[in-house]
């Protein structure tokens, strides 16, 4: 079976090149935006407190280096796509290479922008409270590292898609399922990465405002970020189901479109809850820093609010699973 009148090797190589371009092209968006935000806040911070310019610049560079890691993941995937040898070319392999590129490209957007937020706001925080700059930088490092989780999920799915042997799987609907798997984790990572960044940014400010509340602020931040990442965890789950379930051969258009839509549904459905949960966590972290004696109640309210906004991601997951298993 051929597609577009191309032979298998040409088709697979074409898909690998398009995938590589998408991985690096899309993957550059997030990190660059995040780093720009960091630098702009660093300028503001230095203008306010010129004496500690050294600390601020050091903090800015460390933060930018971590924001960059999402696009470094993209670079690794893009290089692998361009120079990998193709053991079993075919429509399934072509689809899985294209999906790997799309997954990593989309997946790096949210984490890149998200990691820029705590990096920038920690520069301002150091300008405000230079005495605890070490503590602020540590908090920023933890926050930005946790922001990378959605990008790491995207990279895991991309690597599995790259190295998964196509085997004798039927071209349709398996190839549609693989593209769906890539889109599911990739798109769902956008919201979660950005949302996690919002929570981490508020925590850097909180540490500067009330250094003695650092433990409570960091704990609230971590729990908030973890819940904000849940949509991308659901995306990962749907991707795994799409990648590892074997589908009976069917050339009917509806079977292929159904599996592609399952991935698209979870991916798009995960963006909103990720950002919304991040906003909730940001609010909770900000107020824990001001009223640490209410931290237990604030965390409970945060979780209840997040659970409600999470339910939309659960609807998306239910629809995806219905599309996979029932339709």
């Amino acid at each position: 079976m051929t597609l577009l009148g191309l032979d298998n090797l040409t088709l697979t190589q074409t898909a690998a090149y398009v995938g590589g371009a998408a991985a690096m092209g899309l993957g550059a968006i997030g990190a660059a935006t995040g780093e720009g935000f960091t630098a702009s806040r660093a300028s503001e911070a230095i203008a306010r407190n010129e004496e500690h310019a050294g600390d601020i610049i050091k903090n800015m560079l460390v933060g930018q280096a971590i924001s960059e890691s999402a696009s470094i993941f993209s670079l690794v995937i893009a290089i692998l796509l361009l120079f990998m040898d193709m053991p079993d070319p075919g429509i399934v392999k072509a689809a899985s290479l294209l999906a790997a590129g799309l997954c990593m490209g989309f997946g790096a957007i949210g984490s890149g922008v998200g990691a820029g937020l705590p990096a920038g706001r920690s520069c301002l925080a150091i300008a405000r409270q230079p005495a605890v700059s070490g503590r602020i930088t540590t908090n920023m490092l933890i926050g930005t590292a946790v922001c990378q989780t959605p990008a790491i999920f995207a990279m895991v799915v991309a690597l599995i898609l790259l190295f998964k042997p196509a085997g004798g799987a039927a071209a349709f609907p398996t190839s549609a399922a693989l593209i769906g798997a890539g889109l599911s984790t990739g798109l769902a990572a956008i919201g979660s990465g950005y949302g996690g960044g919002m929570a981490a940014g508020a925590s850097c400010e909180g540490v500067a405002r009330q250094p003695e509340t650092t433990t409570a602020v960091t704990t609230t931040m971590l729990v908030g970020q973890a819940v904000a990442q849940t949509p991308s965890v659901f995306g990962l789950l749907v991707s795994f189901v799409l990648m590892f379930r074997s589908f009976p051969e069917s050339t009917a258009l509806s079977a292929s479109v159904g599996l592609l839509s399952a991935g698209l549904c979870m991916g798009l459905g995960g963006i909103g809850p990720g950002i919304g949960n991040g906003m909730t966590a940001e609010g909770a972290v900000r107020w824990v820093a001001r009223r640490v004696d209410y931290s237990g109640d604030l965390m409970r309210i945060m979780l209840v609010g997040q659970a409600v906004s999470q339910s939309t991601a659960i609807y998306a997951m239910v629809v995806s699973l219905v599309l996979i298993f029932v339709v």
């Binding site: 590292a145 790491i152 990279m155 973890a226 965890v233 965390m299 979780l303 339910s311």
Partner: protein
């Protein structure tokens, strides 16, 4: 590269079904148990008012998690559940750190470990909920705010197990795969040790903490 996805399994056929045992995970979990028990034994062997180094580390972990549990559950419940929480953290911490030693693997890299720990937390949380609120109030909470939302409330509760266990599994396995691929691309020159520090020590610690805290939080949500 061939090591990607390779698992050593013991297959036991049993009247039509096959019991699958992942040997590596069992051995690695055993090593984690041994390390944790050794740490506990050595740290508490000679208890002093002026603690030694190991005793200090042990006291730090226990005090931190007792404090966090107390904040979330209140003093009486903390006395019951804090030991479980401390044990969970120590087990996860050693598990996630195990991968930095050559030839050893994190038990948490296999989905079975995080999933069973997630189910453990889920069962404990719902046990606490039923015991504290009474069975009637507990069941009623699923029919709120409107009765026909019940299926979605149940799915929402089950989704907690998925999210808590896949988060840990994804992070640890992701780190392991990235280290493997980068070592392969760079012929194991220069980069892998730094990646091991980042994914093994740093991400491993954070994820152990996040998993433990989420378990505490799930219990506290059922309590109120």
């Amino acid at each position: 590269m061939d090591r990607l996805g390779e698992i050593h399994q013991l297959l036991i056929p049993l009247s039509g079904y096959t019991i699958t045992i992942n040997l590596e995970v069992l051995v690695m979990t055993g090593i984690v148990f041994l390390l944790a028990l050794t740490f506990g034994f050595v740290a508490s062997r000679q208890k002093k008012i002026l603690p030694g180094k190991l005793q200090l580390i042990g006291e730090l972990i226990v005090l931190t998690f007792f404090g966090l549990t107390e904040e979330a559950l209140g003093r009486t419940h903390a006395r019951t559940y804090a030991p479980l929480i401390c044990a969970l953290f120590i087990f996860l911490l050693i598990s996630n750190w195990l991968g930095i030693l050559p030839h050893l693997e994190e038990p948490t890299r296999d989905l079975n470990t995080p999933l069973s720990l997630g189910i453990l937390g889920f069962v404990v949380a719902h046990y606490v909920g039923i015991r504290n609120k009474g069975f009637k109030v507990y069941i009623k909470s699923y029919f709120e705010p409107v009765f026909f939302l019940m299926p979605l409330n149940v799915i929402g509760e089950l989704a907690k197990i998925v999210s808590i266990s896949f988060r840990l599994f994804g992070n640890i396995m992701g780190g392991a795969i990235i280290i493997l691929v980068v070592s392969y691309l760079t012929y194991s020159i220069l980069l892998p040790p730094f990646l091991n520090i980042f994914f093994g020590l740093f991400v491993g610690t954070i994820q152990a903490f996040v998993f433990t805290m989420l378990t505490v939080v799930y219990i506290s949500v059922q309590l109120k």
